[in-house]
Subunit: 146 residues, 2 copies
DNA sequence: TTATATGCAAAACGTTTGCAGCCAG
DNA sequence: CTGGCTGCAAACGTTTTGCATATAA
């Protein structure tokens, strides 16, 4: 296995997470690292087919599970599918009802907590989901879909 | 089909929603109507087996889809499964990492919107998801699970 | 050298669909 | 009477699993 500079970096990241730097894992991490589209395992698999025609679903799923456990990626269950978010800093999501795109929304400083929560519940993570129409889809006629 | 007073009420509700008041639907609506546990289709199905040994999954799913379209129930995708919430008033959810219970959190007057959203996104629905530990589980040793 | 990861295939899981017959309206 | 609904079973899409083989460290 031959790695270029970037790949050596990715390999280092993987090993730092206690994972073996296999070519498949390096490719998966490289593919999702800066991807703001919240891809599904399927999407990643298809994207990597060209490079690794023999790669199996299982490897993609295993790797994403490993990266999740290592805290390098955050799974989000949206509808029936699991999407993966390389942004592990707490934040919210804006989801377009029309085109389905998911965009990150930085968490403000305010904790986004309604006073009504209370009652002994210890909050560890807060996620806001904002559903509506993105700017692009607002310019079209369509009102909702998918 | 013979209906008692409560069931006549449920039947009326169903017809008002443009749905036929079949015994199965009356039972499903009655079962979920005041259920704060956010049951899955599975859970409802099992709960109704006793009363309708012949009832099929399809009927439960069809009915829940119909009730959703009629605005009597709100589906929520949590983890990989779909739960159904009879509370259709906008509100948030507190989910216990340990026992998995989902409790409704009334939406405060404040819109729960971070300033950072903007950028042309038209927000139609906001849902806050608060993950942590419920009061009951905080009293036990366990820290997380499921 | 060896524990870990891989590819493959099959199974599991929740959900959806097609269809013949049934029954609420 | 008739269209919407039912039960059944099979199909679906996504994810998980078991196992023999390969490979990173």
């Amino acid at each position: 296995m031959t790695l270029n500079y970037d790949e050596l970096d990715l390999a280092r990241t993987l090993r730092a997470a206690g994972l073996r730097a296999t070519p498949q894992r390096v490719a998966i991490l490289r593919s999702i690292e800066h991807d703001k589209s919240h891809p599904t395992a399927q999407a990643l698999f298809e994207r990597l087919r060209a490079e690794f025609p023999a790669m199996s679903f299982a490897t993609v799923y295993n790797t994403l599970a490993a990266l999740t456990k290592a805290g390098r990626v955050q799974p989000m269950h949206l509808g029936t599918v699991t999407r993966f978010d390389p942004n592990v800093v707490p934040h919210h999501h804006a989801i377009c009802d029309v085109c389905g795109t998911v965009r990150d929304v930085p968490a403000a400083d305010e904790p986004l907590l309604p006073a009504s929560l209370a009652e002994g519940f210890e909050v560890r993570r807060v996620e806001g989901i904002f559903r509506g129409r993105c700017g692009r889809c607002r310019k079209t006629r369509r009102t909702s879909a998918r």
